[in-house]
Amino acid sequence: MPHEVIMPALGMAQDSGLIVAWHKNQGDAVSMGDTLFEVETDKATMEVEAQASGFLNRVSRQAGDDVPVGEVIAVIGDSAEAAPPEQTPKEMPKEMPENIDPAAPEMPKGAEVIMPALGMAQDSGVIVAWHKSPGDAAASSDVLFEVETDKSTVEVEAGHDGYVAALLAEPGDEVPVGDVIAVISATKPETPVQLSRQSQGPSASRSAETPAAAPAPSSEPAASPQVAKPAAMATGDRILVSPKARRLALEQGLDLKGLIEAGIPQPFHVADLEMLRSLPAKTATGPSGTQNVLARVSVTGFSDFFDRFDGQIPTPGAVWAAFAAASLRSAGSRSDIVVRLDTPLLGSSAFFVDPDLVPLSRIAPCEADAPQIVLRDLTASRITGLTLVADDAPVLTVSRDGTDYVLSLDFTEAQLAANAAIRLVEGVAARLGEPLRHLL
């Protein structure tokens, strides 16, 4: 009955053990009590004895492997077996020469020396110096290298008799605990290998996949090339609002976005919900941020004026264009003012540039585009009022309701400030009511 050798649990909270060295080789005869291998845990290094007598077979894990507790790493059988034909390549330790890039120097055979764990919470060590050079003879008790941990610098012995066949890290390299850093061969190597950690690729692991060029002490440190992501602003779409205000808004079906559109600074508090409640009309009627100002003024003033100067002034629409331009100018617009006069029922449009700066009698349409304001003349229609989506420019609709003109200005916040819109509509309404004011 073959006896399975498993990775023992040596500590209270140990879930894997690092095989430091095998004391028996594949096929060796072992007696119960013989030291089979050494295991390093985070606390200590221990020798593990054979629990059965026989022959050590099917050694599946090598020195330097970190093996989960409970995993079978060998079998003690009744007779010596040849090395198992399928030594499960997938479990083949990465540093096995087969895995090495063809361009890399062939890794010499021999005992592997790993970066030891010298402290309780050490996960890597820095090689301070090698005391042997590739090709040197080394006795087990010879100091092979010095390693620096966060606590101290320690000299480490070779642990094996033989020759330094490979040094896989350079002074200054930081090497994870358990990584193979040297190979000591039984016979003098013909082509000893010397590598730096950097030359073994950025993964800095045992997989020596990068072609090993000559050691390049000045090569760039294998710092992770990851660029720190710029810390995204956490706000995003989040609305800053007090817990109570958020709860009340939820309970009362209030959309806090209304406060943002109204320009109320965040964070919102319960008091701001009062403001939100007073703005329901906008969310009820306003398609996508369109705002609206309405005015109503008797037609008498303008019709009297128009009748009095009949013949001396052009169409009513041209006069209104002048009114609108003048009102917009007094509402704060400084540039040349282009007014487009739309008469939807006739399907006609006309442009006026600064119509308020010429005498009424000389107002005339001209070539222009990009109006600052659109006048929509609906006075000939039966439509008495409407709110449409704002155009490229604010749209002032003039319609007629009985004996009144109805002025309706559609605009967005981006086009006009609320104050300017109010002054614009008030200016046009005042001029329509008493056109002589415009002349003054």
């Binding site: 706000t235 007090s242 817990p243 109570k244 958020r246 709860r247 964070p267 508090h269 319960v270």
Partner: protein, 331 residues
Amino acid sequence: MREITLSQAVNEALAEEMRRDETVFIIGEDVAEAGTPFKVLSGLVEEFGTQRVIDTPISEPGFMGLAVGAAMTGTRPVVDLMFGDFLFLVMDQLCNQAAKIHYMSGGKLNVPLVVRTNLGATRRSAAQHSQSLHALVAHIPGLKVALPSSAYEAKGLMKTAIRDNNPVVIFEDKLMYNDKAPVPEEEYLIPLGEANVLREGSDITLIGTSSMVQVCQKAAGLLAHERISAEVIDPRTIVPLDEAALLKSAKKTSRVIVVDEGHQSFGITGEIASRINEKAFYHLDGPVLRMGAMDVPVPFSPALEDLTVPTPEGVAEKARKLVAGEMIHAA
């Protein structure tokens, strides 16, 4: 109603309880002839004798340990710890022994012990005699902590504490010993764990303890001039804490400032603020603010010392900002 000082109120409470129950005794430094440095116990040794008003050598761990043992064996000691700062000397007796004996004996032993001590800065007593260390005691399960804010509270809480079968530490504000307040002639008790609403309000709740109750009261007065209606609550005991009363007020006003004379960091203010945050979060219209003593050794320099503790003006200023929604922090 007659008005007496906080000293007289404590003296009366002790005398009444010692007359009522002969197992009650007082032990501490300078408690008998001297009647304590603050003269709180004057006259008691004349009435009850040196067997019940016991002067000790200057060894706080000694007499505290003695009192814990005495309490376990059937008496009701009232330990006089001259300054709250000396709590550091009796931590083992108080926190490892008195606080845990009832639990560890499976309920077979009680420690009906009262520790009378004090807190409060601005008495020019320097860093080792000016600390407010009630948070240290409140942290240990098994110890009750009372913080009387007036003569009335001092008497009612002291009498209740003496009758309690568990260790109770009472911190008196050493600046308040001569403050007078109406105290009834007839006997009364104040239960532990029952907060007192001193002033009703609707805009903000000021929770004050001990010396900070009058600071909150004055702050509420300042705020009233600005039409900010502040509610002032005194928890009276922080262990047990009348959480329900504090939460009720927090939900009502939706804004809270907690004011306490202990150091602000890791203190009473943070504990109370957290509980309100945890249990009234969706009723809050702004962050619960803490105001404690500055995290520095209490300076000896009067000018500096006065800067380290919350003032009515400081509390009112914070309240103003909280009500105006100006306690804004980055998203």
